[in-house]
Subunit: 375 residues, 2 copies
Amino acid sequence: MELGDLLTPALVVDEGRMTRNIDRMRRRVSELGVSFRPHVKTCKSLEIARRLMPTPRGPITVSTLKEAEQFFAHGVTDVLYAVGIAPSKLAHVGDLRARGCDLSAILDSVDAARAVTSFCAARRCEIPVLIEIDSDDHRGGVKPESPALLTIAGALRDGASVRGVMTHAGASYACRSTDAIVAMAEQERAAVVRAAERLRQAGFDAPVVSVGSTPTATFARTLSGVTEVRTGVFVFQDLVMAGLGVCAVDDIALSVLVSVIGHQREKGWILTDGGWMAVSRDRGTARQATDRGYGLVLDADGGLLEGFVMSDANQEHGIVSRGDGGPIDWAGFPVGARLRILPNHACATAAQHAAYHVINGSCEVLAQWDRFGGW
Amino acid sequence: MELGDLLTPALVVDEGRMTRNIDRMRRRVSELGVSFRPHVKTCKSLEIARRLMPTPRGPITVSTLKEAEQFFAHGVTDVLYAVGIAPSKLAHVGDLRARGCDLSAILDSVDAARAVTSFCAARRCEIPVLIEIDSDDHRGGVKPESPALLTIAGALRDGASVRGVMTHAGASYACRSTDAIVAMAEQERAAVVRAAERLRQAGFDAPVVSVGSTPTATFARTLSGVTEVRTGVFVFQDLVMAGLGVCAVDDIALSVLVSVIGHQREKGWILTDGGWMAVSRDRGTARQATDRGYGLVLDADGGLLEGFVMSDANQEHGIVSRGDGGPIDWAGFPVGARLRILPNHACATAAQHAAYHVINGSCEVLAQWDRFGGW
């Protein structure tokens, strides 16, 4: 089967590019001398997770208990659920652990710590916890010097234990230079290392010191004191990562195959059947130096169409046009022609689809890999 | 079961509000003296479509052949596929028609018309076609006065027939006043009526004259010459529609239930487990007079929390804060508390979920209705 045989829109992954992305991140993490706990929220695919994980049992990072459940069902037992635990999810966490999944949770408040402790005491079970550290004012976490850090650790008892600390320097996505990412990586490292130090001084073991974002992992000079790295989007890369200098545009392994369905020549528009339902509403590059609209455009053979962008989207309609105002050779875009859209944000685009169509540098479709969604 | 028993994030629909929205649109369409062909791309749910459709056999409008297939499997036979037909999809269209689904297609070019004619000639089958009219410079379609209109109609032969014309005044979403929507509705009406007139003068039957957008259908003064209205988002309404004055905020029937997972008090942030995966990346109100962020915020009982917005989103994290800078009574938002987010764009938010949890004015969960996605 060829890409030309697929119904559109369809999600395409180039396995060669993906493998190179994985190899590059593995080398990076290895050079930095830390463990690798890939984040599978980007792929949500068993086939891809198998290529990412250090061993068939993990470790992995997940963003939902659905991911934990799905990967555990296929033998993955070392799982970090890296979203602050909601008390109503503790029963599910306890159930996964009772079935043999070494799932750890994160939290950043005394209230959440008390909820975990109460749950563990009532159920006579154990839940290891990483305390979330705020290294960049981006979302959750306690500051490394905050008195709350030790209060939270102290509130974890009766089966709830302090496994360590974690942070995610999500603010790295908004950096404007490599130097800024290097500095952010050091800020991320220093924050969790300091937090771990304080916990250990106070008598807590805190063996795990976990960081992770694709930009900071790519440019960190050292991860001294850190024990593991969590990254996700690197597996596919995307235009936001390319805009940050984390990858080149031709490292991007994910694209959405679309068909030309019409034209508005006087406006310079090529209409396609790939709208925001197929590429997502993510406009991550709008905040970067170069706005890529809803994505850059490849021809049917995967060649970059210089100057073209997907400039607008309705639910099932995309508009492809020249972002640079140049002329369009309309004969190259007949009704029925195939194009491929490189996404702003791979996590968001992949989430709009139920399967990956796998190629490797050509138009031959080698496999179809399922992906799941939901919670 | 109560909303408090659901795992979060979860999609919630208030059946009472939805029923009132449906009744209101039905009355409108009836007053306007035209047929109603609801667009099921918003709900993608059999339970909801049954409440929308004039009869169990339809008619409906769909945005994907997956929708056509799913609803046809449950007895719906009168279906308009309202995205310009890609030639590669003709086999599926032909197959649905051969199985008894009266599916019509749309197109706006001679090339597409020739593709349909060739397909019908080769397969000895019939495909009725609506020619898409551009009434608002928004996406596809030919202008009503364009010579192309008659050329396209003339290219439909050998089983491919001109069933009529259709347009969608998507530009109505960007109107800044009710008067502007009234004017847009008239522009939409006049464009298709004129196109139908030209086709009929040229000897084509063109019995169907189809318009539709929730804003224009809500405010149209007359639909003289139009035969049917297609609207979709009215079933749930949303903040974009409220910003347009099409509905009130408390008409919005769709929301996403989330849990509080933490706080950043010095920043005025309440963190939740509902990120963009749960509410979508749609920021439709950013272009309106009042930007609602990722949505307005209800308390656990459905009361509007005045002044609060969902101000930012990561994949599985939402940030709720005061959009108006007012103080927060933190005791009202403990870890584990439930909130509900009213969406910018119901089509995009619903698409992130596999089921609706149905309530009716209270917190009791009365039913769960499946929804589907994909193509």
